[in-house]
């Protein structure tokens, strides 16, 4: 191999940031068992978060040499660490406050240059310093969706049962790392958690290019492979002449099982999601069933189905430690007020209110009685931040623990006062009372007074650490999660054959939320995901002028095309409540998962409508019209990439699957003698 100059001092060499090669189970055996082996190449264009609010930060280095940074960030704890490192200040002298912000979507997860710049300038001047990025600067900061080229090869039995899957992904990383190593692993991690994949191989490569750095955007590294997988499965269903909904239903991953790549599945409501959207959309009355001659819908109208899954919190933090991922502190005052303190960051998803609902539920008081203080490294215990759909599950579990500990103290004091057995006491309607004799009781405020009299000031803490993953191989850190959410969507589209313009008319989407803590917030996330999905599916793209210093083609809200309310389709949402034992009250995530099925469902619907495959997003009118013309001329009715680069992959790290008796560790490498 030629010794090429390195772009950065980190990474796997030259312009390669990361190269991964993992193999779970005997692939040869898997493909041998298959009745059909299909291979597809697909591309997912990069796009950006487009939050309404640009990033902004204010720093103040005060007279006693302590630094406070207010920043529109999703991850105050990680920013805190980055500041301590770069400014060479003791972490105990730095306070980071995440301000309410106008949307993150992953774009405010990295510690940013401007956060460090305002801090340094304030240290130099002793004055408060503020930086607000312009919209153009937000486009250049980016850290958005990676453009990913993918090759997928799957062996299936006649009934659609997967025997082996081989997945390759090539990520255009932009100029810097961001969370790109995790992004690379994520393009290969979650293929196994929806349908049973007994043997699985993944190879991924992230390259540095002269563009703004890519990073985590809603779905972090998984919308691209999910798009590829769900379109690929649609094509397999057509070859096998199977209904794509039934084929998927038949081969769902088992709940409470371990996948070939050692991800532990908990509750699994995907089957119910599929059944709901199939019924709601009247799929059977609409889907062509691969028979273009006897269509049920008129030519130009079509339906498509896709499914997905997402983690409810990453199993590991981004720096190695054994401490909890989330901490909650409760303070009860004699007036009956409860203060919840947690490092979590509300970026509009409603995580502050989740803390209030959960604590109120356990203490039998009203959420309005609760004050919530969050995202302030001086006032709140650490929570790792708003990313990887971790907040409700992890802060929720920590809040339950803290609230149960407080309830225990109150119970003891009240039981003593009322001479009632401890197990008889219940908390509801702002009272603590005997369940056998509900008139016997005290108000919640009186209960706090009793407890404070007995124990002193009442404060409790709770924390949460995810369960250990069964995966022990190198690379097993990305993908494990306490639980997995599931989604299924049916899209109905209209394709204008004279222009290629695709209009999404309606989307039915089922989401397995485990348990809704607040259904209005859950529905909001689902509908918001559909809206973002329409943009990614139909128009959004980060494009550059290669011949003009690689400037972004149009870093503006006018010319970076994202849907308006006029492009938004009707959405019918079904919430599936299949409680997960690891979730707080059984709750799972909803912030990212429901985005994932939208893009492939639309691509599959376009095929159903006009019989052309658009194997890349965005599905623009130009691509559809080109494919329609090719089809009319008898050429391949497809628009998409035709090849992937030749890469010298490293020897795969081999892991026996659980079914093969594996223990989650990699097999010792066998030296190959020629």
């Amino acid at each position: 191999m030629i010794d090429e100059p390195r772009i950065h001092d980190y990474g796997d060499g030259a312009n390669v940031h990361k190269k991964v090669s993992l193999e779970f189970g005997d692939m040869g055996e898997g493909f041998k068992e298959a009745d059909l082996i299909r291979e597809d190449i697909l591309f997912y264009e990069g796009n950006t978060h487009l939050p309404m609010e640009q990033h902004a930060a204010v720093a103040h280095f005060d007279a006693d040499h302590k630094l406070t940074l207010w920043s529109a960030t999703q991850t105050p704890h990680y920013v805190h660490r980055a500041l301590a490192k770069t400014l060479e200040l003791p972490a105990s002298h730095i306070r980071v406050i995440a301000t309410p912000n106008g949307g993150g979507f992953g774009g405010k997860s990295d510690p940013f240059n401007h956060e460090i710049i305002v801090s340094k300038l304030s240290m130099m001047t002793g004055r408060p310093v503020k930086v607000t990025l312009t919209r153009e600067e937000v486009f250049y900061c980016h850290r958005g969706r990676h453009p990913v080229l993918m090759k997928i090869r799957t062996g299936v039995k006649k009934d659609g049962a997967i025997t082996a899957m081989d997945f390759q992904s090539f990520l255009d990383g932009g100029a810097y790392g961001s969370y790109g190593v995790a992004s690379t692993f994520y393009t290969g991690a979650l293929q196994t958690v929806t349908y049973n994949v007994p043997r699985y191989k993944f190879r991924g490569l992230r390259a540095f290019t002269n563009k703004p750095p890519c990073g985590p955007k809603r779905g972090h590294g998984t919308p691209q492979p999910r798009f590829a997988l769900e379109v690929h499965l649609d094509k397999i269903a057509e070859e096998l002449k199977l209904d794509p909904a039934e084929m998927r239903l038949k081969h769902l991953v088992q709940p409470f099982s371990v996948t070939a790549n050692y991800l532990r599945i908990g509750s699994m409501g995907l089957g119910k999601c599929i059944e709901k959207v199939v019924e709601g959309s009247e799929w059977k009355k609409k889907f062509s069933n691969w028979d273009r001659e006897n269509r049920k819908l008129p030519e130009g109208k079509g339906v498509g189905l896709a499914c997905s899954s997402y983690i409810c919190g990453a199993g590991l933090p981004i720096y190695w430690n054994n401490m909890p991922h989330s901490g909650v502190q409760l303070r009860l005052d004699r007036q009956g007020g409860v203060c919840v303190q947690c490092g979590s960051t509300d970026i509009g998803q409603g995580s502050d209110s989740i803390l209030a609902y959960i604590v109120a539920e356990i203490l039998g008081i009203d959420p309005f009685d609760i004050r919530v203080i969050t995202a302030d490294t001086d006032l709140t215990p650490v929570d790792l931040g708003s990313y990887s759909s971790r907040v409700t599950l992890m802060t929720g579990n920590a809040a339950i623990q803290a609230a149960e500990r407080a309830r225990e103290l109150l119970t003891m004091a009240v039981a003593e006062k009322l001479s009632v057995p401890i197990e008889n006491l219940s908390f509801a309607d702002r009272r603590v009372f005997d369940v056998e004799n509900p008139e016997t009781g005290v108000t919640f405020a009186e209960a706090v007074v009793l407890a404070e009299s007995k124990f002193g000031t009442i404060g409790t803490v709770g924390s949460y650490t995810p369960p250990r993953s069964p995966g022990r191989y190198k690379g097993a850190g990305v993908g494990p999660s306490p639980a997995y959410s599931y989604s299924a969507a049916v899209a109905e589209v209209d394709v204008d054959a004279s222009t290629g313009i695709v209009t999404v008319e309606r989307i039915w989407i089922g989401h397995d939320i485990g348990q809704s803590i607040n259904p209005a917030l859950v529905m909001g996330q689902v509908e918001g995901s559909v809206y973002m999905g329409l943009g990614e599916a139909l128009m959004e793209e980060m494009t550059y002028r290669a011949n003009r210093n690689v400037v972004h083609k149009f870093p503006s809200l006018l010319e970076y095309k994202s849907p308006t309310t006029l492009e938004m389709c009707d959405v019918v949402t079904y919430l599936i409540e299949d409680r997960d034992p690891n979730g707080p009250f059984g709750a799972k995530e909803v912030g990212q998962g429901p985005l994932l099925p939208v893009m492939p469902a639309i691509a599959n619907a376009v095929y159903d409508a006009v019989g052309v495959r658009i194997d890349e997003v965005p599905i623009t009118p130009e691509k559809v019209l080109t494919a329609l013309r090719d089809k009319a001329k008898g050429r391949e009715a497809r628009f998409g990439p035709k090849r992937v680069p030749d890469v010298e992959w490293p020897q795969p790290l081999k892991v026996l699957t659980p079914a093969e008796g594996g223990d989650g560790k990699e097999m010792p490498r066998v030296a190959v003698h020629s």
Partner: protein, 328 residues
Amino acid sequence: MMRLPKFTYRVPRTVADAVKMMSDAGAEGQFVAGGTDLYPNMKRRQQTPKTVISVTRLKELNQIAGDGRSGLRIGASVSLTDICEHMLINRDYPFVAQAARTISTPILRNMGTIGGNLLLDTRCNYYDQNYEWRKGINFCLKKDGEVCWVAPGSRKCWAVQSSDLVPLMVAVGAKLKLVSTLGERVVDAAGLYNDDGIDYLRKRPNELLTEIQLPPRNGWRATYKKLRRRGAFDFPVLGVAARLDLSDDGTVKDAKLILGGIAPAPVEVKEAEQALIGAPLDEERMQAAAESCYMKARPLDNTDFLMNWRKQMARPYVLRALQELREQ
């Protein structure tokens, strides 16, 4: 984006004062109405007038007079929202309201005016960028640079005529009143536009557009079709304005077909008009007209969408315009 540069803001109360102020300001002067085009351009330093003269308080520029029988006179400062909602316009010239409704967004239509829209700066993906972006590519021919990046061999600027009302006004034969200290003149809308992205108006800078005159509606019909990515915000990447005069037996007596959004000036497709005139408006004739428009449309790669696709869209969009006129 930078903030607005410093400038003197003047608010005349009469047209005479306005043109006098402009004469005093000289080459550094600029009229402004709604400011939805000028102010963003000033923030991006594409235009940097030292004196900005508002025409929004000029009474005669805010009036609408006449009707479909006598012709309609619309003051240049009438807002696009008022154009969309005006009872007489909707009754006698519905296509004008229809085209105005496709401009940008409701909020910008509240500020933007019909006169401002007719004088809209030409647009280009290499030009409608902030100062730093343009500096990053060494600027372009239209402003501060030497090369047209759309067509690097070209001596001409290819920025695009991007107003929705321009093709329509040309198609219906509107007349425009221009006033300066030297007096006033009335020109055909068709004569105002020049096929050059920099020097895109055949109007002296000190002339104030005061009035748009629509001809009486004696039998002719018109429509406007707009191609763009989204249902709001976006400028046209192709606009089709069509006017037809049909005799009682359905024969086309006269026709105008004007394409917007594909060149520095609105493009009249005479071949398409000839294909229609003197014959009934049948499918074959309409197809022939659409084909002529397709041949004539030569957009370059400086707006949203691929240029080849925009060219191809001339066929269906012209066809749709003509089909709509046949049904009217």
